[in-house]
């Protein structure tokens, strides 16, 4: 009886799936999606003439611009989720005890904040920019493998659900409390805690999916940038953003498969009794080595494209080209190589052989040079330039300022004697947040504002943009500078409670976090309302780049697009002739 019931259910399910497939095949003429191979004759990147409408379009699109938008939305949702998680933590930290939430829930928020921001916000939001703009910048019709591009994106939502599964009401499943580094033996489920729970397995599986997604994307970008460039776009003519995406993709290609393998080993240890990371087997240090061999390149995977964005945008509002363009290119490549040789600077205190430790210190100091070189290039570009303090430019300048603090604190960490004292304190948290929030997020905001007219056809509200910038700048520095001092004072990281002497600094940090939240709300409001009803941009040069001879390929594409749209007569109450005259008031 029971078996026939199950059989019936299976058959029903099968019929349902066939029905779905048939329906999709009907509404979809899949072939229409194949981008024009070449015969497009000057139809730059517009190989997607026929698109279905509504939701189907977004579910089935293989157009690099649509996929870029999808990545963007996904990244922003993750940013909100990760941001709410950290707000929970910071509000809890207003006072020394565990008053609002339990210690274990704090640990869960901490773990998922880190993983969400790095894997579900950072990497995807960068992919949003690269998907949308790299093909336009190198004048390719689309990505080299449009469908792989779509698959890579669609692996992310299930990955996110798996990662967040612990928070969903799913019976006995609890969220992971392993921190983003998943150190064994804790993450192997050993001991008396609850980390043998399936919630951790689901998180690991989700991470694995996002890694597969990133790897597929990286292969696609490497193929696209190497083979799909227009003839004029030689290696000497490749723009800096595409250079950083190419390098980043190389890093992903070598780093993420390694993470994937390590995660599978961890799953085997957890579920099938293998001993890769058990004390009697490979040992817990093996995990740390594997993790950081991925983990350090990962931080450069996250920072290189934003560096490219700043190198690309900052000169346009300085009225001159990037100083030492090739310095920036070569130093990007140098960072790419060296980032694989520094991983154990995260493990200085583990008692590893001092000779090895010394070598990791040496390469960590060497890698600081290429980063510093870029900083000098940006400063020199602005020096005596005609600066226009538009919102994207403000975010670029904020990037440079915060990156200096983040980079210098990193060099301190790289010095073994200093790190022995500062390791696992809030100093480290301050260091990497100066880079990740103060620099990476700033550059991404710069990109979102700079190209807002291209992907929405409209202009954002300038005044709100400035509010967003200043709140974010103040919030970032208040939050993370307090963390640096906390670290010097000896406050260890990853605790839900603290001693009363740290109260003031912790409260300052939390106030900073609330200021950041306020800025972010303004930004979300600004983008949502401007996207829907902002003034339409009328010409393809809202930043008046032609004046300074800084016009680039993506704006020319945009200009063509507007012109075609105008002949269609797709008009509304079009206000703007001065485009996004942000320049006027700056």
């Amino acid at each position: 009886m029971q078996i026939t019931g199950q059989l019936a259910l299976t058959v029903l399910m099968g019929i349902f799936l066939v029905g779905v497939a048939a329906w999709l095949a009907r509404v979809e003429n899949w072939r229409s999606y194949t981008p024009l191979a070449s015969g497009g004759g000057g139809a730059h990147g517009t190989g997607h003439a026929e698109k279905p409408s509504g939701v189907i379009r977004w579910l089935t699109t293989v157009d690099h611009k649509d996929i870029g938008i999808l990545y963007g939305f996904f990244g922003i949702i993750s940013f909100v989720v990760g941001g709410l998680m950290v707000l929970g933590m910071r509000i809890e930290l207003f006072d020394p005890g565990a008053t609002l939430i339990s210690e274990s829930f704090y640990n869960s928020l901490l773990t998922n904040h880190g993983i969400t921001m790095l894997f579900l916000f950072g990497t995807p939001i960068i992919a949003a920019f690269s998907n949308y703009f790299v093909p336009l910048l190198i004048d390719a019709d689309d990505m080299a493998f449009p469908r792989i591009n779509a698959i890579a994106f669609w692996l992310l939502p299930p990955g996110a659900l798996l990662i967040w599964a612990g928070f969903l009401p799913l019976g006995d499943i609890v969220p992971a409390q392993t921190a983003w580094t998943l150190y064994t033996p804790l993450a192997a489920g050993v001991g008396n805690g609850n980390q043998a729970n399936a919630g951790v397995d689901l998180l690991i599986l989700g991470l694995h999916l996002t890694g597969v997604s990133a790897t597929m994307g990286a292969i696609n970008f490497i193929a696209t940038i190497i083979t799909e460039r227009a003839e004029e776009v030689t290696w000497a003519n490749l723009d800096i953003f595409s250079w950083t995406i190419l390098t980043q993709s190389g890093l992903i290609l070598f780093a993420f498969p390694l993470l994937g393998s390590a995660l599978v080993m961890l799953l085997l240890d957890r579920n099938l009794g293998t001993t890769f990371f058990a004390v009697e087997g490979g040992g817990p240090m093996l995990w740390q080595h594997l993790f950081w061999f991925f983990g350090h390149p990962e931080v450069y995977i996250l920072v290189l494209p934003p560096m490219g964005l700043v190198s690309y945008i900052l000169p346009r509002f300085s009225g001159r080209r990037l100083f030492g363009f090739k310095f920036v290119v070569y130093s990007t490549l140098a960072i790419g190589v060296l980032s694989f040789g520094v991983w154990a600077h995260h493990m200085f205190t583990t008692g590893m052989d001092p000779r090895l430790r010394a070598s990791f210190m040496a390469v960590s100091l060497a890698i600081a040079i290429p980063s510093a070189v870029k900083t000098f290039n940006w400063i020199t570009t602005m020096w005596n330039g005609k600066l226009e303090l538009t919102t994207p430019m403000l975010f670029c300048i904020g990037f440079v300022a915060n990156f200096i603090v983040g980079g210098v604190t990193g060099v301190f960490n790289a010095s073994i004697p200093v790190d022995l004292i500062l390791h696992d304190t809030y100093y480290v948290v301050g260091h990497f947040h100066y880079v990740i929030m103060g620099a990476i997020a700033f550059a991404l905001f710069a990109g979102m504002y700079y190209w807002f007219p291209i992907y929405t056809g409209r202009m954002y509200q300038r005044r709100l943009g400035k509010w967003h910038f200043w709140l974010t700048m103040i919030g970032t520095n208040l939050t993370f500078f307090s963390m640096l001092i906390l670290g010097y004072a000896g406050m260890p990281r990853r605790y839900a409670t603290y001693l009363p002497q740290f109260s003031t600094l912790h409260q300052l940090t939390s106030v900073g976090a609330l200021i950041l939240a306020a800025g972010t709300i303004i930004w979300a409001y600004n983008f949502a309302t401007s996207w829907i009803e902002g003034p339409k941009v009328q010409d393809g040069d809202p930043w008046n780049l032609e004046e300074t001879g800084m016009h680039t390929a993506e704006w020319e594409w945009f200009d063509r697009k507007i012109e075609t749209a105008v002949t269609d007569g797709g008009e509304e109450e079009s206000v703007v002739a001065d485009g996004g005259g942000e320049r006027d008031d700056a």
């Binding site: 290696w235 000497a236 490749l238 080209r321 310095f327 070569y330 990791f360 001879g549 993506e554």
Partner: protein, 109 residues
Amino acid sequence: MTTRIFDRETILDLTVNFIPLAIILFFVVGYAVVNPFGWDPLASGLQFALLVVPFALLAVLTYLSGKAISQAEDERPVYLPGQATVSGAEPIEERESEGAIEGDAGGES
């Protein structure tokens, strides 16, 4: 051939990567001279491998990328990055002789 590819200009651009190379070299020599932790075939071997391998890889990548870029410069016109496909954009050399871009102290020219 090599001398033509790596002209003075290219070498100058590449100096940016010579500096980290020099730092690594400095530590190779330094750790060979000052050796407070003693000699052990495995540990010391790894110690120097961790310096020599990144050094070699960086040297190779610097060479290859320098070559690719300077060859591309010789073969086709050079535009401002991102402008190669913009209609009406002029190659960098012409612009410079016309003095179209001013105050450009450095850059790749």
